[in-house]
Amino acid sequence: MSITEQKAAAGMELQSQESTYLDAINQALREAMEEDSRVFIIGEDVGVYGGAFKVTKGLFDKFGAKRVIDSPLCESGFIGAAVGAALMGLRPVVEVQYADFISCGWDQIVNVAAKIHYRTGDPVPLVIRAPSGAGLRAGPFHSQSPEGWFAHTPGLKVVAPATPFDARGMLKSAILEENPVIFFEHKYLYRRLKERLPKEAYEVPLGKALVRREGNDVTVISYGAMLHKAIEAAEGLAEKSISVEVVDVRTLTPLDRETLVGSVKKTGKAVVVCEDNFSYGVAAELTATISEAAFEYLDGPIVRIAPPDTPIPFSPPLEDAYLPQVVDITAAIEKLARY
């Protein structure tokens, strides 16, 4: 079922204006803050300035300095403070200016936030929003997709929505979570995607993958900005009578293995497309999941498409060579389809 069909099925009335992926996140923040006075935002330049990407635009004016907090430049400091506030019953939403900078707050995430509940049973209702991803000519320090680091850390939930509808609904779910959630919003999608969103508030549950496009010959599994390249490749291959199913992972942890495996059992062939770099990454986990659970259904090798194991280069021809492109995905699917 497509998203449009989903919305229709849910009987949701749509807004008259289209919303970008970025608007959708802003709407989720606004709704959550209107609904629950415990929700507050903390980060760099999120207040008066409205955030480096303007995701929090207008929220400072509406909710004031108490609830939209401009922090000094200290990722470890403000992520740690958010953990403390969460333990005391608030529901902080942290903005890390670029996902690349999340490593400055690494320890507070992986050793503090992630390891509290297992030891003490105390909930840590914390969301860390991290604009991730390449394609914007932003170089090695403003383009990374570090979701694999966190997906590998027990105690964290890791999500990566690919559409405005999901961005709004999954952020709402993340804010309602009692666990720390790392919310990777793909900044390449911020202003490139638009759709009409429901008027009323809604949630998209975490931990559920979605079949975005149905097909019979090959399953392509992806998420984030790469999902859209996968869909483009799938549509192009329809002209060559290759029927491609595209599955959007949406949540990396907890991973909806059932939906992924179910699709591969149907098609017998799988291509995994990730922006996280090749080795020891998300693509490896997705591939292993299929191999373990659907080996006897496979009619060909599982194909991994991911960037090479290099820093992300700045210059356009280098970055284009680094990122998987539609042509690469198309070629891989076609080759596997004919295997």
Partner: protein, 319 residues
């Protein structure tokens, strides 16, 4: 305000309880009766009790793995602490956390991690929550001299200062970060001087004088409650044991330890109490017996408690 007789005796009791607990723990460790490591705070009793006793119900503390004694005035039960050392399900982390990494949020005690001072920013965040809701509550974060070299320490002080948060940063300067002496850790004589860099009050106090620590903490807590601002206290003391149970502690000159032994905070406090007209040996005996019984009960409780069920290894990672 001068402490009452009851408060003076309370602090004495907690100091005795803390020391007796650690002495028993050290014996159990040497006998191989408990798994894991031990991190003792012997010699630092006055710093722990004087500070933690200055707090009220509703306040929170963020201790490190050496700071078990600070939990005692907050109502942490020695039975549960001992059970934690045995890795039993009756300990506060049900066998999940390392022995000295424990707390109880219902008593206002954070459960620390080993990366110090990671709970400095966390304590600032607790203070942020108190201020956010307009509550009359204060957070107090502990760490040693070693942790003041890390970025989290500076980020927390600066963040709390800029946001004017009701938090007290309490540094127990016990002269060594594991084996590294103060002179290899910093170029200043007093860690409290660093407060000036953040525009907050800083004060050095004799960490072996429980009443001086108590008074300094009350003042800092009062500052937090009334002006809603952070402050820094440095309690100068000496760690009278190695970094952990396995540490032979041979990097500290014997003469230095002998000097510090003369300044033992409990003996020193007993001398003070002996000078008061109402204090007598009977009071001391009553407390010693009470403490001895509590420690014995704690060991009995821990030994009788069940170990965790291996089938539960994966439960509780998420809420």
């Amino acid at each position: 305000m001068e402490p009452t007789k009851e408060q003076l005796m309370d602090m004495y009791y907690y100091m005795l309880l803390g020391r007796a607990f650690e002495e028993r723990l050290e014996a159990l460790y040497r006998q191989g009766r408990i798994p894991g490591a031990i991190y003792l705070g012997r010699g630092q009793e006055a710093s722990y009790i004087g500070s933690a006793y200055a707090l009220k119900t509703g306040d929170v503390i963020a201790p490190t793995h050496r700071d078990m004694m600070a939990m005692l005035p907050r109502g942490m039960d020695v039975k549960s602490i001992m059970a934690q050392h045995y890795g039993k399900v009756t300990g506060p982390t049900r066998g999940r956390g390392e022995a000295d990494y424990l707390g109880d949020l219902s008593k206002g005690i954070f459960t620390t991690v080993s990366m110090l001072p990671d709970f400095y920013p966390v304590a600032a965040g607790a203070a942020l929550a108190f201020k956010y809701r307009g509550e009359d509550r204060v957070a107090l974060a502990y760490c040693g001299d070693g942790a003041t070299s890390r970025g989290d320490w500076h980020e927390a002080l600066n963040l709390a200062a800029v946001m004017n948060l009701p938090v007290v940063f309490f540094v127990i300067n016990n002269k060594y970060a594991y084996s590294t002496p103060n002179e290899n850790e910093m170029k200043i004589a007093d860690i409290a001087d660093r407060a000036a860099g953040y525009g907050i009050p800083g004060r050095t106090v004799d960490g072996n004088d429980v009443l001086a620590v108590h008074e300094a903490t009350l003042a800092a807590v009062d500052n937090a409650r009334t002006e809603r601002g952070p402050s820094l206290i440095e309690a100068k003391t000496m760690r009278m044991r190695g970094h952990a149970g396995h540490d032979p502690y041979d990097y500290v000159p014997k003469a230095s330890l002998e000097e510090w032994e003369k300044k033992d905070p409990i003996k020193r406090y007993e001398e003070y109490l002996t000078g008061l007209d109402w204090f007598n040996d009977d009071e001391r005996e009553v407390l010693a017996t009470r403490v001895g019984n509590e420690i014995k009960d704690a060991v009995d409780f821990a030994e009788a408690s069940p170990l965790p069920d291996p089938s539960e290894v994966t439960t509780g990672v998420y809420h």
